[in-house]
């Protein structure tokens, strides 16, 4: 009896859940649009950092969580996008041309790294991407004449239209939301299904005619492009670059964010970015040893709660829903009996 009641009440619940999540997302976007109007400039700068790293982390998780590619070298593409934009803009290239070329350049580098690294096994792939990150850092800090070495490139000016506090923020927001939606779309496409299939069972994927290596290369290039775009947007609000952007520790950040927020959820890493940067800000103000706390939180997360905070939130919502549904069920049973 109870079972029947439940199956009957399922379809409308499913639809309302769909509407609820779309509603939540639209609410969050409206809130994000209002940030520069509500918050003081210093906080707004922090919000921009959260947004840019959210995109960086979501793109990284597209590889790690969704495609099963353990890449520890995503800072290469983030940093390469940022450096390309910085160099082009400081050498008189028009804003939009630099803005478009830089992520493409990052994608080209990603293609080269992927073609070489993906020929190896999982573990060696992870190590190689780590190696590329360190290589990129050394190159950027070594080529003093071009990149300004350890100092980097400061004082990059933005066009007037986006140099205002509000317009600068909204510009970044538009591109981040667009990129996050685009990547979500790709994840749901035929290509996304193939990637998921490869992650679940590469032998089976191959046996149904999917070229595993090639799909991984393409996934890596897409993620490289988005990470490059995040790097360009970083320059838009920071207006400077330095080689730390390319360092392997920088590559670790989006991975940690993904773990914190939940790798199983598409927007989990974005939640992770929020938490990570708040921790950095608040605990970092108290002690320079703030990474210690982040490490501790990540450790606890992995052991106790592998679904991350985002996943925890979803669990909580489902639990409440189930409880409510159970209550509804018992009411309807009472009514029918």
């Amino acid at each position: 009896m109870q079972r029947e009641v439940r199956t009957v009440s399922l379809p409308p619940l499913g639809r309302s859940r769909h509407l609820a999540s779309i509603g939540t997302i639209i609410g969050v976007i409206i809130l994000l649009v209002l940030v520069p109007i509500i918050l003081p400039p210093a906080q707004e700068f922090l919000a921009q950092t959260v947004l840019v790293y959210a995109l960086f982390a979501v793109a990284t998780n597209f590889l790690i969580g969704f495609s099963g590619l353990l890449s520890f070298g995503q800072a290469v593409f983030f940093g390469f996008g940022a450096y390309t934009a910085a160099l082009l803009w400081t050498h008189g290239v028009p804003f939009w041309i630099g803005f478009i070329i830089s992520p493409i350049a990052a994608a080209v580098v990603a293609a080269l790294v992927a073609i070489v690294s993906l020929r190896t096994s999982r573990l060696y792939f992870a190590l190689l991407t780590l190696g590329f990150s360190q290589l990129a850092y050394e190159v950027a800090s070594g080529l003093y004449n071009l990149t300004g070495g350890e100092t980097g490139i400061p004082g990059i000016t933005m066009p007037n239209a986006i140099s205002g506090v509000v317009s600068n923020y909204e510009f970044i927001l538009v591109f981040i939301v667009a990129a996050v939606i685009a990547l979500y779309w790709i994840q749901r496409s035929s290509f996304g299904m193939a990637l998921k299939a490869i992650r679940e069972n590469p032998t089976r994927a191959e046996a149904v005619g999917i070229h595993v290596y090639w799909h991984h290369v393409v996934a890596y290039v897409i993620a490289g492009f988005i990470c490059g775009l995040a790097g360009v947007l970083y320059v838009v609000y920071q207006q400077q670059v330095d080689p730390v952007l390319l360092n392997w520790t920088e590559s670790g950040e989006p991975v940690l964010m993904a773990v914190l927020g939940g790798m199983g959820l598409y927007l989990g890493p974005a939640v992770g970015s929020f938490i990570y940067i708040l921790l950095e800000q608040w605990v970092g103000a108290l002690t320079p040893q703030w990474p210690l706390l982040v490490g501790l939180v990540v450790l606890v997360m992995v052991i106790v709660y592998p679904r991350g905070l985002g996943g925890g939130f979803v669990n909580l919502v489902t639990a409440i829903r189930r409880k409510r549904r159970k209550a509804d069920d018992s009411v309807s049973i009472r009514r029918t009996s």
Binding site: R188, S189, S190, V208
Partner: protein, 256 residues
């Protein structure tokens, strides 16, 4: 079967197919000719090289020597995804599915893969593929489970899903590695019926390896006996069953 042999080229031929692991000859100079529309069983004791033979056919292993010819195309040395797209698909001995996807998504993904439509970044699988997946699920009797997560299906149903994934693109040849292993007698009987129906309806060529002799004699038109990587005998089930060498090397050992 003899009528078919007379006028058509073999669907699948191997010539001196060999695979060494170190100094061990897992498959040793195997010559096989499978006619179009035939159901061929490959039998043999454990370690006879049946699975290695299958892995060679589908490109999961590279041969150390010899040739594999699909229709009139030499396919030895091709990779697994290419062989699948050329029309020889496979169901594995141990269940090999995409466990966290739904039953329907498993077949849709397979169809996308075979048709080379997985590099579409904007489109989700179109209606014709969705419909085709439903037809295939209907064929193997999984229609009602289409929305369920594949990983939680019963063993027999997972094997049926495997079959659906191999069957989906209407391949020229389908290879079934121990299609009834680990099944209950009821599930085995159901599988045999499904296979017979599919063979009748689709005029497929089927190559299967099998432990269960009942299944072999019920399904196969021709039986090839592999022992220590070599072909010991090939013939109609009745002939093979009567072959004294086969009895002593294999069937006798089982106590048949």
């Amino acid at each position: 079967m003899t009528e078919i042999e007379a006028d058509t080229a073999p669907a699948l031929t191997t010539k001196g197919l060999t695979r060494k692991f170190g100094s061990f000859m897992a498959v040793d100079g195997v010559d096989v000719e499978v006619q179009e529309g035939e159901i061929r069983a490959v039998i043999g004791p454990n370690g006879a090289g049946k699975t290695t033979f299958f892995n060679l056919l589908t490109g999961h292993l590279r041969p150390s020597g010899g040739e594999i010819i699909l229709g009139d195309l030499v396919i030895s040395g091709r990779r697994a995804h290419e062989v699948a797209r050329l029309g020889m698909t496979r169901a594995f001995q141990t269940t090999n599915i995409f466990p966290s996807m739904t039953v329907h998504e498993n077949v849709v993904t397979a169809l996308l893969g075979y048709s080379g439509r997985t590099l579409r970044f904007w489109k989700s699988p179109d209606a014709s593929i969705q419909r085709r997946a439903d037809e295939v699920l209907d064929m193997v009797g999984l229609s009602e489970d289409r929305g369920r997560q594949a990983g939680i299906l019963a063993h027999g149903d997972q094997r049926a899903l495997e079959l659906a994934m191999a069957l989906a693109p209407l391949p020229k040849i389908i290879l079934l590695d121990e299609p009834t292993s680990g099944m209950s007698p009821y599930e085995t009987q159901r599988s045999v019926q499904i296979l017979q129906k599919i063979w009748r309806d689709l005029h497929l060529t089927i190559v299967l390896s099998e432990h269960d002799m009942e299944v072999v004699f019920e399904l196969a038109h021709t039986v090839t006996v592999l022992v220590s990587g070599r072909v010991l005998a090939t013939g109609e089930p009745g002939e093979v069953r009567a072959n004294s060498e086969v009895i002593s090397a294999y069937l006798g050992g089982v106590g048949d």
